[in-house]
Amino acid sequence: MRPPRFLWVPFELGRPFGAPGDPAFQTKVLRAVLALLEREDGPVILDDFPEDAPATSEDAATGWVCPIGLPKPAAASEPAMLAEVLREVAQLAPWYAYAHEARGRSTFGVSGLEIEPVARFLHAFFDGMPGNPVAGVTLGEAFRLVCEDLRSWYLEAATARPGAGAATSRALADWFWGETAAGRLLLALQTICAKSADDGVRHVAVSQLVPRAQRHRQINLQSGDST
């Protein structure tokens, strides 16, 4: 690829302008990329942004523990899974509400469902193919959007607590997928829905449900590799 003006940045995927809540750093990145417009040494300019995003050192990465103590989730096959997710939701709800108020926004709600119907719809896959609760989209798309909502709700709640700003995205992902009943639910659904009779549900389960790195981590954990 030989674009006219390209600024490579070292930030993790999902964070193209550096760090959340750091307007000065975001502006620095923006100025660096806009400055390419005044360069005359084309036709191809490939530049590297020289700084890492703030608070990405290993010191910041270690030691974050979600301060919201959630009960240890039961095995995914138990009918109590839904009750455990709903208990987690009840425990996290004040923090989700605080996050929404403090930030003035939420990314939750792309499916149009509230959080409890989100959990109930997903759990219903254990008992067969649930009806589509989202108008205007296929069941596969609804499945994807509802899973997105479950993750968003949990992570917005988790990042609302003081100190959570120092948590890396990896720590947050490891917490969701490794320590919550909601994460266990989605991991179980990946196995179940990968055999679904619905093409869309099956496609989502195979490639758009669990992040690749988390699938790999789960495999390693089950084989006794804690890395």
């Binding site: 070292p10 995927l13 193209p16 760090a19 975001q26 806009l34 792309v110 968003s152 790999h216």
Partner: protein, 154 residues
């Protein structure tokens, strides 16, 4: 974006294995000074207004983001789960730096900010498949007198 060495090995292997077809042209264009530029953002982050149609798993369409839309109204329905969303959840400008752009315009560092910005969903298609969308967006941007586009990934 991101050093391969900073990625989990499984993600790094996946990205390195992607085929990136070469382009025949080098579309270099000079333009006015930055303080005279009208800038639009085109993001591939799968963003849209809450209530707008969500992006499908494979979607070569685009969504319109009015420049005066409050950041609180933007949501993300990108189909890939292999990138962090917690940053965007905390701060829209981390992915769609509209406030930062408006600040630069207010300070006179850029000429103006476009009336409309656009999002595509950057997964599941090959470059030639999204070319019609790119051509349509180019026409829309020209109508908005845009002479600088910030093409932003996620």
């Amino acid at each position: 974006m991101v050093r391969l060495t900073d990625l989990p090995e499984v993600d790094a292997r996946h990205l390195v294995s992607k085929e990136c077809p070469p382009f025949d042209s080098e579309p270099w264009v000079a333009g006015p000074p930055l303080r005279e530029r009208r800038v639009a953002i085109v993001t591939s982050a799968g963003l849209h207004r809450r209530g707008d149609r969500s992006f499908a798993i494979q979607d070569i369409g685009y969504r319109v983001i009015p420049g005066d839309l409050p950041a609180s109204e933007l949501v993300m329905t990108h189909s890939s789960v292999n990138f962090d969303r917690t940053g965007f959840q905390q701060d829209t400008n981390l992915v769609f730096p509209i406030d930062r752009l408006n600040e630069l315009a207010a300070a006179g560092e850029i000429g103006s900010v476009a009336r409309f910005h656009y999002s595509v969903m950057g997964a599941g298609w090959l470059p030639h498949e999204i070319e019609p969308t790119a051509v349509e967006l180019a026409g829309l941007l020209k109508e908005d007198a845009v002479n600088a586009v910030l093409l932003s990934p996620v």
